[in-house]
């Protein structure tokens, strides 16, 4: 039930954003994420953005995963 899906912010008006969730346009409440901007990615859970996804951090994670130890 704690499923949250990555989505791209398309438009923001007050606390409501239009997001692209795997190709589907949806509305999401963004009051829980500070200073979120169009073009950024967030995690959507039950109609709310619960956190931004750090692009830099994602790349760093992939680098760690590819690492041969």
């Amino acid at each position: 039930m704690c499923l949250a899906i990555p989505a791209k912010i398309l438009k923001i008006e007050d606390n409501l954003a239009q997001v692209d969730m795997a190709g589907v346009r949806r509305q999401a409440d963004v009051r829980m994420v500070n200073n979120v901007r169009v073009g950024e990615y967030v995690l959507i859970h039950a109609g709310f953005a619960i956190e931004k996804i750090g692009e830099k951090e994602a790349e760093e994670t992939l680098k760690l995963l590819r690492e041969m130890a």
């Binding site: 039930m1 704690c2 499923l3 949250a4 990555p6 791209k8 795997a22 409440d29 009051r31 829980m32 994420v33 500070n34 990615y41 995690l43 859970h45 039950a46 109609g47 709310f48 619960i50 956190e51 931004k52 996804i53 750090g54 692009e55 951090e57 994602a58 760093e60 994670t61 992939l62 760690l64 995963l65 590819r66 041969m68 130890a69």
Partner: protein, 359 residues
């Protein structure tokens, strides 16, 4: 899809497995606490890829599964009142109570509606001023901030026919209860990624320190889970018990402060009963006094007898990780997703349902 596909790469998965295989001298029990992790593990066939010495146990992180029989009976009792519209996330509808289920009540004429977001419940309340709209507020720290936000919205808009029935629960106290128990020897926790988005890695530090159990907060793609297992094995090998974050693209040590503030504005911590784990001190959330007007339990006082679980259903033991679904005598022969006897077979993230579908 960005942030999804690149975390499912098979070649990298095989490489992480190779690293895991190097710890072949360790025989360990690791628990994935979260039902969403259980689903990923089964769906992606990760169990079969792991060496025999790494035993994965599924934990209590399925909100529907850990809801007590009494709370399910109360939700059913609320639905019987014809003044009500019951709004709920999908999984709750088919969970068998002592004598009925929300699905059966709906067939008998109750107004039960499945919704995706608590803001839909608010909308239904706005559109049906002559009805009482009750939202079954279930879920862990991932979900409770959104419910809190909706209750605050209702207060701000003066919507007086919106109520919640809170069965919200907290994850760290349940992990503590499992760590204390002598029943199992859990040597590492894969902590729930999205609960941790809210509460942060700091919230688990007492578990690592006091009970000496390594914790890794993992993301929800196959590579995230494998890497989390690798990180746990590395801690065990090096004799460390710390909280590490594999899912650091979304999880921060302090968590999401705004979400935490929403929770504490609207809710206060209380003792609650979990299926399979009994009453755990300070493990649930109830509405604060200033929001009593939104409390369905206070307003409608659903009366139920002491909830009776099906005595043959081993869901309680499955939730503690001490029994596998296949050790339940009803599993598959009598209890199936079409005809579930316990919540662990209803919820798509329930361990019995995962075994049935992919096991």
């Amino acid at each position: 899809m960005k942030f999804v596909d690149e975390f499912r790469d098979r070649t990298i998965a095989e490489r992480i497995i190779k690293k895991i295989e190097r710890f072949d001298s360790l025989k360990v029990n690791l628990m994935e606490v979260c039902g969403t992790h259980t689903m990923v593990i089964f769906k992606q066939g990760l169990k079969g890829m792991l060496p025999k010495n790494v035993n994965l146990l599924s934990g209590p992180g399925c909100p529907v599964c850990v809801t007590s029989q009494e709370d399910i009976d109360k939700a059913i009792e609320l639905a019987r009142d014809r003044r009500m519209i019951i709004t709920t996330f999908g999984d709750m509808v088919r969970v068998p109570g002592t004598n009925s289920s929300l699905e059966k009540e709906k067939a008998n004429g109750a107004d039960v509606r499945i919704i995706y977001s608590p803001s839909e419940a608010l909308r239904i309340a706005r559109e049906n001023p002559d009805k009482k709209v009750v939202f079954l507020a279930i879920g862990f720290e991932t979900t409770s901030p959104l419910i809190a936000a909706s209750v605050m919205d209702a207060q701000k808009e003066k919507i007086d026919n919106f109520f919640i029935f809170s069965t919200h629960k907290l994850i760290p106290p349940a992990m503590e209860a499992l760590s204390k128990s002598k029943e199992l020897n859990i040597e590492g926790f894969i902590c729930p990624g999205h609960v941790s988005v809210t509460i942060g890695s700091d919230a688990y530090r007492f578990i690592a320190q006091k009970y000496n159990v390594p914790c890794v907060i993992g993301g929800f793609e196959a590579l995230d889970v494998l890497q989390s297992i690798y990180m746990l094995l590395r801690q065990i090998k090096e004799n460390r018990a710390e909280v590490e974050i594999e899912y650091f693209r979304a999880v921060h040590p302090q968590g999401n402060i705004i979400a935490q503030q929403l929770i504490s504005e609207v809710f206060e911590v209380t003792d609650v009963r979990w299926r399979g784990l009994g009453i755990i001190p300070r493990s649930g959330l109830r509405l604060r006094k200033k929001f009593y007007d939104y409390d369905a339990e206070r307003e409608f006082q659903p009366k139920v007898k002491k909830g009776k679980e099906n005595p043959d259903c081993a869901c309680g033991q499955v939730l503690r990780g001490v029994k596998k679904p296949t050790q339940c005598k009803l599993y598959k022969r009598i209890c199936t997703p079409e005809n579930p006897y316990g919540p662990c077979m209803v919820s798509s993230e329930g361990t019995c349902a995962a075994y049935y579908k992919y096991g």
